[in-house]
């Protein structure tokens, strides 16, 4: 009886390990490479976060975060981005099952939510500049616009990428190259949401405290 248990436990180990099984499928290699890119992108954001944290008090007599940030609009932006991350996940499931209509539907919802996020952010930026807080006003505002604007640029790039992917699904259907790119897009979109979690925590919630 003990021997049987031991063999049961051994069975998975008897399979060849990943390194002995030969080159991994391209889907795994591509996604892993993109994962490395995302982590290096996050390292770049960490430098911007560090710059913001160092310069947050350097307002040069100008407006502070507490005077500028509107938490209601930030909460709506957060909700949009979180919901779009969710629908992006549902889109990945539809892609895995090769369901074209569901893929289009969730892609459109993801795109709309991302676009709503971007519109709110642009409105917030325009409002701040109109109220005498452009990036050149103080070191704090330079760091703020660089950090939040860089995330906004990533979201813009993600929206363009999503539109291109839907055109590829329409023209090329679900061939392996297209599904690999869709997997990378989903990784990118979820990673942007992780960066936004830190953004609203560090910039908008900690930043308004005296």
């Amino acid at each position: 009886m003990n021997i049987a248990v031991a063999i049961d436990e051994l069975a998975p180990e008897a399979l060849p390990s990943a390194s002995e099984a030969g080159p991994a499928p391209k889907r795994i290699v591509v996604a892993y490479g993109f994962w490395i890119f995302l982590l290096s992108d996050i390292v770049m954001f960490s430098a911007l976060f560090a710059a913001y944290a160092v310069l947050v008090r350097a307002t040069a007599g100008g407006p502070t975060g507490a005077q500028l940030f509107n938490q209601v609009s930030v909460a709506i932006e957060t909700a949009c981005l979180l919901a779009s991350s969710y629908t992006c996940g549902l889109m990945s499931l539809a892609v895995n099952e090769r369901r074209r209509a569901a893929t289009y539907f969730f892609a459109v919802v993801t795109f709309m939510l991302g676009a709503a996020f971007l519109a709110l952010e642009i409105r917030e930026f325009a409002d701040m500049i109109a109220r005498g807080a452009p990036p050149q006003r103080s070191a704090f505002l330079s760091a703020f616009f660089t950090l939040v604007g860089c995330h906004g640029l990533h979201v813009t790039a993600g929206l363009i990428w999503l539109a291109v992917m839907m055109a590829q699904v329409a023209i090329k259907s679900f061939r392996p190259t297209v599904t690999r790119r869709l997997l990378c897009f989903a990784l990118f979109w979820h990673a942007l949401d992780i960066i936004w979690v830190w953004l609203f925590t560090v910039v908008y919630l900690m930043g308004v405290r005296p």
């Binding site: 994962w35 290096s40 560090a50 944290a53 160092v54 979820h190 308004v208």
Partner: protein, 131 residues
């Protein structure tokens, strides 16, 4: 020979034994993640605006909530697990977090030292500004 083990791609949802044991559909995994993320986000906004909590502890609490939400996103949306087929993904993530930690903490540490030794304290600066 179909059962050779490869690593799993990051973001690939598991079609393995764990998912079946939890009896969760794939949609259910994303929905749980969304629910947890909403709860954590709402808690963050509440913590930042309430006067019920000890004020000096609030930034630490917000950081803890953000780390928890990052974990929720990694597990439920990016499907990073502790399984043996995910070792490469986890190791890359750990290295990324190490670099992020060094950059942020190192910058803050050095710059606060620098401003301590270079500038008069803030109260003194304010006095100069007022007179």
């Amino acid at each position: 020979m179909t059962d050779t083990r490869y690593d799993r791609a990051p973001g690939d949802i598991s079609i393995s034994a764990e998912a079946e044991r939890w009896t969760l559909t794939d949609v259910g995994i994303y929905t749980i993640g969304l629910a947890l993320a909403v709860i954590l986000t709402a808690t963050s906004f509440w913590v930042a605006n309430t006067s019920l909590l000890w004020a000096p502890g609030i930034p630490l609490g917000l950081a803890v909530l953000a780390i928890a939400q990052m974990g929720v996103h990694l597990v439920f949306f990016l499907h990073i697990t502790t399984g043996p087929d995910n070792t490469n993904n986890v190791l890359a993530l750990a290295f990324g977090i190490l670099i992020v930690f060094l950059v942020v903490v190192g910058s803050l540490w050095i710059m606060s030292n620098l401003s301590d030794s270079m500038m008069p304290p803030a109260e003194l600066m304010n006095l100069h500004m007022q007179h």
